[in-house]
């Protein structure tokens, strides 16, 4: 194995390969920053380009894109509260408050440090478990998918104990939205308003663009001013502080990375949920969970570490079975096949060198993207000082064009606009938006997992505790419910009498 890794490493030292890696990183950053675009779009556009390239170069470029997109997406999440890519949505929670306090550079510094560390962790884990890839993927069947989705939904419920009812309301709406479209279990078409557009359900990316990007820009125009409330105190020199904070919170980094690697490996659940669970894990482990959401640096570090770790995890099902762990991986799968590689049982044996090369490219890209990000932070943080009157129309126009460019469907633009208004109303009346996104992502997995489990288990509920993985997941669900609800009760009991006095 070591020989294969060093071979792959040597292959990457070629000047041309490095150039492709760098090109991928730049493309990844740009596509990551623009809300609506993202790694999937970047890969799809560059897919024909990989045709004439040799495998190492193609993987270097793809690895560059996938490794760098997370950084780009998080930069817009922090600066604009508009996640450039779906998995960066969790970074908004504390990243944007930091930017509003004029600490955008610090948050970006934390991203720049946490991303490559997470990526590195994911890579090391992946290299260790590669021989077991099959067994790991086979651990997750329909009952486990259902439980995992429930775990994700539970972590929404407990993420913000003070807003529990509102969070649950929004998550309920998100679940209802996730049931729109073709029902893969019973075959019916549901809630499509008679249009073919909604046949495949409410598309995630346009919904996200509206809910976050557009909503935020509407709010900014209504309020006036710029993102950073006080222009004079917007510090541009906090990068080192952010990096130091990340190193000091190494436990948060490791926890986030573990969550990212594990959840990333589960197809259909994917990155958005991984970063969110990483966030709520950090929050639950903190002695002062209520301060999350007001600009805690740990709230940026945890999702960022998992954001890059998840790519390594997502490679497991993609390579071992040809089941993409994420949308990006689906396109990447096509690039593999174009280069004459058939993902499947033999992949790890026949194309070991290429696989290791890709993993190295992913990690190198995360490091490189951080360096580029840090170099640009001075100009990037400046965005928070641009007056809303200029920023809002620009961001809205760019993200709508980005939304349209993905599938060239006019319906996507309309949907983004509708969700933009919805997002603004939620913002205005203090309803959290992330539960909606998580529920939208997980609703289908939960529903499908449940139906399939019931058929497989022939109607017997014990199917949900029928495997060690399932039992662990059930325990995790119970644990995270008690963990956060109990202290919440205690606190209300403590503050209750005082409030009544």
């Amino acid at each position: 194995m070591l020989e294969a890794i060093s071979q792959a490493g040597l292959a990457f030292l070629g000047l041309q390969t490095l150039a492709f890696l760098f090109f991928g990183v730049v493309v990844g950053l740009v596509f990551g920053v623009i809300p609506g675009l993202g790694g999937t779009t970047a890969l799809a556009i560059l897919l024909p380009l990989t045709f004439g390239m040799d495998v190492t170069d193609a993987f270097a470029m793809c690895g560059g894109i996938m490794g760098a997109v997370a950084m780009g997406g998080s930069i817009s999440a922090i600066l604009l509260n508009a996640p450039g890519t779906a998995p960066s949505a969790a970074t908004c929670l504390d990243g944007y408050p930091l930017a509003r306090q004029g600490r955008a550079a610090e948050a970006i510094g934390a991203v720049a440090a946490a991303s490559p560390l997470g990526g590195l962790f994911g890579m090391l884990t992946l290299l260790l478990v590669f021989p077991l890839a099959r067994d790991i993927v086979l651990l997750f069947g329909p009952p486990e998918f259902f439980l995992l989705a429930v775990f994700g939904l539970v972590s929404i419920a407990v993420a913000d104990a003070a807003n529990l009812l509102r969070g649950l309301t929004v998550a309920g709406i998100g679940l209802m939205l996730s049931f729109v479209g073709y029902d893969a279990v019973n075959g019916g078409i549901r809630f499509t308003l008679g249009s073919d557009y909604l046949w495949d359900g409410v598309p995630l990316v346009p919904a996200l663009v509206g809910l976050f990007g557009m909503a935020e820009m509407i709010a900014l125009s209504v309020q006036g001013g710029s993102v950073a409330a006080d222009v004079r105190t917007a510090r541009l020199d906090g990068v080192l502080t952010g990096i130091r904070a990340t190193l000091a919170h190494w436990r948060v980094v490791i926890r986030g990375s573990i969550v990212g690697t594990v959840i990333g490996a589960v197809p259909g659940v994917g990155g958005t949920v991984a970063t969110f669970i990483a966030y709520s894990t950090a929050r639950n482990a903190d002695p002062d969970p209520d301060s999350f959401g007001t600009g805690r640096i740990e709230g940026v570090i945890a999702p960022e570490a998992s954001n890059n770790a998840k790519d390594s995890g997502a490679l497991l099902p993609t390579l071992a079975f040809g089941i993409p762990g994420s949308a990006e991986m689906a396109v990447f799968l096509g690039i593999l096949v174009l280069h004459g590689m058939q993902p499947g049982p033999a992949m790890f044996v026949e194309h070991q060198a290429e696989v290791y090369g890709l993993v190295l490219a992913l990690t190198a890209a995360a490091v490189l993207a951080s360096v580029v990000g840090i170099m640009c932070v001075r100009w990037l943080a400046w965005i928070t000082r641009v007056p809303g009157a200029i920023l809002a129309p620009t961001v809205i126009a760019v993200s709508l064009v980005g939304t349209f460019a993905i599938e060239t469907r006019p319906g996507d633009v309309v949907l983004a606009a509708v969700f933009g208004v919805l997002g603004y109303l939620m913002l205005r009346f203090g309803y959290p938006r992330l539960p909606l996104v998580i529920a939208l992502v997980l609703g289908e997995t939960a529903e499908r997992g449940f139906h399939q489990s019931m058929i497989i288990g022939r109607g017997d509920w014990s199917v949900f505790v029928g495997s060690p993985t399932a039992i662990v997941l059930v325990l995790l669900i119970v644990l995270s419910l008690t963990w956060s609800i109990v202290p919440w009760r205690r606190r209300t009991a403590r503050t209750g009498p005082e409030a009544s006095q």
């Binding site: 893969a184 073919d196 259909g268 396109v331 096949v337 469907r409 499908r448």
Partner: protein, 319 residues
């Protein structure tokens, strides 16, 4: 350089959507780029197939034009198919079709926006037989042994109405043993993994998808329909493989909008058949385990009609 040009063009295309060039009818077809609509997302098996084929198609077409695959995914392939059906029949928009995937919804009298009997068929790329497979460790050694089992046999499939579902239903109608279908899998790789994991007892899956697992000894093919020469590990094709079930194949075709002029059709048909026979494309097929079974325009049309008749006889099982 040409690669860079293609990509730039693709990018421009994405951003500016469609260039509605309306040149005069093809005196010297083709005089500009040809678009192949792929009704699936970039990166899928069919998408890769078309993308791998496109450069060879360019090579064998007269003139110096590009062949650009464009993904129009959605609604189980209906969106892209509808787009081809409605496109101008000038030979600059052609489409990739998978049957019976887009045929079944039409036969189910769903509102699909196209009529396959009107499509100008150009060529068949591949016809992939279905195999009935079980996990290697399964005690079931033959199709007839299914009958001796207690309780229904669980099959994995995508949603009701999907090809996998309909094929499973038809085969089981012949088998006559009690069965149940676990729906909701996202695709053939997904229910193959479900089979490995033990979610389900058996699957009906196209051979190209099953082959890597058969070769690795993970699953066993009990029967292969319409492919007596399939050399799978233990392909005991028994009495069940009734001749009419040979129509259970996953066929990938290239077609054009209705009323395509004959000369354009002939040009495209020739180029497609030459591309499919190109040694370079054969290398790609071999390295990825993809199959090819080329057929010309008339034969493709006959295949579509035969499939249509076959599934119509099972109309009561389609819904």
């Amino acid at each position: 350089m040409t690669i860079v040009r293609t990509s730039l063009r693709k990018l421009l295309q994405l951003l500016t959507v469609l260039s509605v060039g309306m040149s005069a009818a093809a005196a010297q077809y083709p005089e500009r780029d040809i678009e192949i609509v792929v009704p699936f997302n970039a990166g899928g098996g069919f998408d890769s197939y078309v993308r791998a084929l496109a450069p060879y198609l360019e090579r064998h077409l007269p003139g110096d034009v590009r062949v650009i695959p464009r993904n129009v995914a959605g609604a189980g392939g209906r969106r892209g198919t509808t787009e081809v059906y409605r496109a101008r029949p000038d030979g600059y928009t052609i489409g990739a079709f998978n049957l019976p995937g887009v045929l079944i919804p039409q036969l189910q009298q769903q509102r699909v926006g196209y009529d396959l009997s009107e499509i100008t068929w150009l060529a068949t790329l591949s016809a992939d037989p279905y195999v009935l497979a079980v996990e290697s460790a399964s005690p079931v050694q033959s199709v007839s042994a299914f009958a001796e089992r207690d309780g229904p046999i669980l099959y994995g499939a995508t949603g009701p109405g999907s090809t996998a579902y309909v094929v499973t239903t038809i085969v089981n109608a012949r088998l006559g043993t009690p069965y149940e279908i676990v729906t909701g899998y996202t695709g053939s790789s997904d229910y193959l993994v479900g089979l490995l994991r033990g979610d389900v007892d058996a699957v009906l899956v196209n051979l190209a998808a099953a082959r890597p697992y058969i070769d690795a000894g993970d699953i066993r093919a009990l029967a292969a329909f319409g492919a007596p020469d399939v050399t799978t590990a233990s392909a005991a094709t028994d009495a069940l493989a009734a001749p009419e079930l040979a129509a259970l194949r996953l066929v990938r075709m290239i077609g054009a909008p209705p009323n395509l002029p004959d000369d354009v059709r002939t040009t495209l048909e020739r180029a497609l058949l030459a591309a499919l026979a190109d040694p370079g494309f054969a290398d790609w097929l071999a390295s990825t385990g993809n199959a090819v079974s080329p057929a010309g325009a008339l034969e493709t049309r006959d295949t579509v009609n035969a499939m249509s008749n076959f599934y119509t006889t099972f109309a009561s099982l389609l819904n």
